[in-house]
Every structure is written in C-alpha cells, then in structure tokens.
C-alpha cells in the first residue's frame, strides 16, 4: 500500500512536470512574434523590447522555463498585460466559484443517482428501471447548453425567480442566499450531466455485482435485503462509481465554462474565455496550468480513495 502510494506520487510529480512544460511552451507555440501577440500589432518597438527583456526572452529557452517554474512554485504566475493584475490573484478570485458550483452539483448528482441506481438494479428491466433508464437516456442526449437555455427560459423568465438569470451572479460573501440562488441553475445543469453518468455506471455495475456468487452467499446467511444491497453490493460497485466520478469531476473543472459563459458567472471558465477573447496570454497560460494540475490531482485523489475501498487493486 505504502509502495503503491509512493509510486503514484512519483508519477503525479512527473505528470505535473510535463504539464508545466506544456503550459509554458503554449505561448511559444503561437505563430509570430510573442511580443506582438501579447501587446498587439500596434505596440511600439520600445515597449516590445521592454517586454522582451521582461519576459526574459533574450535568455535561452530552458533558462526561461526554470525561471518561470521557480516563480510558479512561489505562487507567481506573472502579471497580465491586459488587466495589469496578478494572474495568481485573478485565479484565486475565480476558483472558489468553480469549486462551489462543482460541490453543489456533485451533492445533487450523487443524492439522486445512488438511490435511483440501487432501486433500478434491484429489479433490472422492471417498470421502475425502465422509467429511470429512459429518463437518464434522454438526459444523456441533451447537451448542457440546451439544458441551461431551457432552465433560463422556464425558471428565470417564466417563473421569475431572482438571481437565476444571465449576469445575476452574487458573491457568497456579499449575500449567501442570493449566491445560492444564482448558483442553482448552473449547479443543476452540471448535476444533470453528472447524474446521468453516475446513474448509468452504478446501475450496470450493481446489476453485474448482484449476479455474483458472493451475493447469493450473503443471502444464504439470512441477512436482510437492505444489508445485502448496501454492505455487499454497493461497496464493490462504488469502485466503478468513484472511477467515473474522478473523470467526471475533472471534466467539470475543465468544461464548466459553458454554463459560466452563458450565465456570465465569473468563474475560471468564464475568465478563460474572456482571456482568450482579449488575447491575455499569460492569464490563459496560468489557467490552463492550474486547471490541468487540478484535473490530475482530482484523478489522483480518486485513485487513492478507490484503493482504500477496493483492496484488490494495490496488490496487483
């Protein structure tokens, strides 16, 4: 177990290193002169030269990388040339919004998916299973941008619930009730996408688990149906659920921008799109790096949890 964790941590460090290289080179991969790209074609040669020096572009590229890496390790991702604000502080302001949104959506998704999957799997192809199955299948085919439009149309416009429309985001610190209201639509949208994944994964894994011999064995002990479902079937099946959740939550961190963009909620995704549109490359670089590391970390954490739940894996 300890060896496994050490090996995983070494792998994690390796991947983060490669991500840092990738993110660093991102702006160097852009066509044309970097200073022109950053400052725009109208920039004066003097300013360009200043920036050239500032970015350390006169030095060899690997040196530039290590300077950059050193800064990153100190929490310094550079200063945006567009907004003149520190990239790190911009990210620090936006990230909590993503985390709150993901957290609420995951609570909702698990709260719906687990009991429904347990119910479905008890009688596969029964009436309830068919209804749940058809419902989840339909939701699977509705992309989040359509969900959010429909939600805005009905909840925000037709019902007129406050703080649920476009550009109505309220910070948690200023009014937490309003904040929760403004979080409702994006969180529900993300929750629907996650729910579909969790429900389908858990249901099919539970059905397979319930056909295992050890379930019959547990029945033959004379313990209750409830206990069999939760103690004997759910735990082995939760491995598949956790695996799906790891991938999915990472995906939400990277892909949550659609709802943020549509509702103008100033999270990381919204900031990223704005940065791309404004050619704010240092901010783009910073966000890409933070999000990538975040995705890797989430996968790492879920692998670790799966390992605790399932003793079979670390012994392989």
């Amino acid at each position: 177990m300890v060896r496994y964790v050490i090996r995983r941590i070494l792998m994690l460090i390796g991947i983060v290193f490669i991500i840092s290289v990738g993110s660093f080179y991102l702006i160097h991969l852009l066509p044309g002169n970097i200073t022109t790209i950053i400052e725009g074609p109208g920039a004066s040669p003097a300013n360009q030269a200043k920036l050239y020096k500032l970015l350390g572009l006169d030095r060899p590229i690997y040196e530039q990388y290590f300077v950059w890496l050193g800064n990153v390790l100190h929490g310094n991702l550079g200063t945006s040339f567009i907004s003149q604000e520190s990239v790190a502080s911009t990210i620090r302001a936006a990230l909590p919004i993503d985390l709150e949104m993901i957290f609420i959506s995951q609570v909702l998704a698990f709260a719906a998916a687990i009991p429904m999957a347990m119910r479905s799997a008890r009688k596969p192809d029964g009436i309830i299973d068919r209804i749940f199955g058809a419902g989840s299948f339909t939701l699977l085919s509705v992309p989040p941008f359509i969900v959010i439009i429909l939600l805005v149309l009905f909840i925000s416009i037709k019902l007129g619930i406050p703080h649920t429309g476009v550009s109505t985001y309220v910070a948690f610190t200023s009014d937490w009730i309003a904040n929760l209201e403004s979080m409702a639509l994006p969180a529900v949208t993300l929750a629907i996408g996650s729910f579909v994944v969790y429900f389908r994964v858990l249901r099919s894994d539970l059905i397979a688990t319930l056909q295992e011999e050890f379930i019959t064995m547990a029945r033959s002990k004379g313990i209750s149906q409830r206990r069999i479902m939760w103690r004997h079937a759910f735990r082995p099946s939760s491995v598949a659920l956790l695996g799906a959740a790891g991938v999915n939550i990472g995906g939400l961190l990277a892909g949550g921008f659609v709802v943020q963009f549509l509702l103008a909620i100033p999270g990381l995704g919204y900031t990223l799109i704005a940065a791309i549109n404004q050619n704010d490359y240092l901010l783009v670089q910073g966000i890409v790096f933070v999000v990538s590391v975040g995705v890797v970390l989430i996968n790492f954490i879920f692998d670790f949890i799966i390992n605790i739940v399932d003793p079979r894996i670390s012994r392989e």
């Binding site: 509705v142 992309p143 996968n299």
Partner: protein, 291 residues
C-alpha cells in the same frame, strides 16, 4: 472412431444458441432517423427548400405555418431550411473528427496492446499524459488562435484531440481479446502478426469500436454546439445547429421556436446515435470494456 462421428450427427441441436439481446423496432427507427438526416444533409441543395440565407423581412419571428414549417428567425430566414442545411455541419464535424480519431487511434491502440513491450509502454504513457491535459481547453485555445476558422480546421483539431481517448478504448479492448486462446492458437499455427491483427483481433474489437464510435460522434456534435456558443464554430451566417441555438438566446422571450426547433433536431440526433450505440453494445454483449 466412426461411431463417434455418427453419434455427433444424431444430436443436431446446437447447444449454445446465441443469446443476443434483440435490437428491437426502436433501434431501427433511430437508424432510419440518422439515415434521413444524412439524406437531408446530402441533398439539401436539390430538395425543395427555401434558401437558408434569404432574409424575408416581411415575415420576421413568425411561428410555424404551412409556408414556414418551423417558422422564421429574427431576420426572416426559414428555420426548417436552416436546420436541414445546419445538419451538414454537425454530421461533417461528428463523423469527420471521429474518422481522424479512429484512423489514428485504432491502429496505434491495437499495435500497442498486441505487441506490448517498449512500444506499448512509451505509447501508453504518452497518451495518458495527453489525457491529463483538459482536451476541451486545448481545443478552444487552438481554435481561437488558428484563424481564419474553417470547418476542416475544426474537424482536424477535434479529431486529433480525440486520439488519446480512442487509443485507450481500443487498447483496452484489444488487451482483453489478446489473452484469448485463439490468438495464441493463431500464433502456434504460424500466422503472421499482420494476419492476427486483421483476421483475429479486428473482427472481435469491431463491435466495441463501432458502439464507441457512435457515442463519440454524439459527443463531438454536442462539442460543436459548445464551440458555436463561444463563436468558435463555423462563422455565421452559415447555419449550424449550434449557431442557431446560440443566436436564439437573444430572442428567447420573443421567439422560443428559434431555440426549440434546432434544439430538438440536435437532441433527437444525439438520442438516436446514443441509442444505436447502446443497443449495439448490448447486442454484442460488450462487457470487457467500460467505455
């Protein structure tokens, strides 16, 4: 010896009847729907449709009628005609990108899983590192810098971005099949690697590949919609389902039809693809690989 031969003939019942889940009528309805969309996309020019770009200022934001089946948008363009033409973009992006993704991912994944060894180690580590990068952000970043945008560029970027995913699915599927005794048996008979890959492995991973392909096409089509919202898909006024839904946002209160019809077209298409993929997976009893 001869009596053994005779005895086998006596029992003509084949003992392992195929227990395939039936495809069902809904499956064929979905296939029909996809085919209909394909036909519409291909023959949009020759079909008696109105010009999708013609702006009829006499009828702006009108609801469904005989003249405009699905109504018109805020500058008087026929929604039905735009949906039919818009399917061209979705179908081209979806199938085009997956063509690239599978074209590269399938041979690499099969080779890695069959050969194992160093090629597999290097290839798989490389792909897994690529998977760690959020593909969607990379897609957006590249598309926003790579101007001017065109349908082909979108297809290429999404296609390449999908390679690691396809690789992973195909490799896992091939690994599961590679351990089967009939692969060893083929080696023992002196079959070449090429023959084993094409005759023994490919037919057995094809069902997994096809169902994943369909689900992949659905995902990519939804992604095109997302890109349209960010203004990164084909430029207006060329209609695409994503573009149309995006344009409808500003007139949501006045003309909900503009949002509802393209959304319906998109969702029904995705639903059909997902359903066909899911049914095929059940039908071929694909349990080795979790997609």
């Amino acid at each position: 010896m001869s009596n053994v031969a005779v005895s086998e003939e006596q029992t003509s019942i084949v003992e392992r009847p195929e227990k395939k889940a039936p495809l069902g009528p809904l499956f064929w309805i979905c296939v029909g729907w996809i085919a209909l969309n394909f036909l519409g996309a291909i023959f949009a020019n020759v079909l008696p449709l109105q010009n999708p770009l013609y702006q009829d200022y006499a009828s702006i934001n009108v609801g469904p009628s005989l003249h405009h089946l699905f109504g018109t948008d805020d500058i008087g363009r026929d929604i039905f005609s735009r949906i039919v033409y818009g399917s061209r973009v979705s179908i081209a992006v979806g199938f085009g990108a997956m063509f690239i993704g599978f074209g590269i991912g399938t041979p690499l994944g099969m080779l890695a899983a069959y050969r194992r060894g160093r090629f597999d180690t290097i290839m798989t580590s490389f792909m897994y590192i690529l998977l760690a990068f959020p593909a969607i952000i990379a897609t957006i970043a590249i598309l926003s810098f790579w101007t001017p945008r065109s349908l082909l560029k979108i297809i290429i970027v999404i296609g390449f971005a999908s390679v690691p995913l396809v690789y992973r699915v195909i490799r896992t599927a091939t690994l599961a099949v590679s351990t089967k005794d009939y692969i060893i048996a083929a080696k023992v008979q002196g079959a070449t690697d090429r023959r084993i890959l094409l005759k023994e492995l490919l037919p057995n991973i094809a069902p997994i590949g096809v169902s994943f392909l369909l689900i992949g096409v659905a995902t990519v089509i939804a992604l095109e919609g997302t890109l349209a919202f960010l203004g990164l898909s084909v430029s207006p006024p060329t209609p695409s389902w994503g573009n149309m839904i995006n344009e409808s946002r500003t007139v949501l209160q006045v003309n909900p039809w503009l949002a509802i019809f393209p959304s319906l077209a998109l969702c029904l298409f995705l639903l059909s693809l997902n359903f066909i993929g899911d049914r095929l997976r059940n039908h071929f009893d694909v349990t080795e690989v979790k997609l």
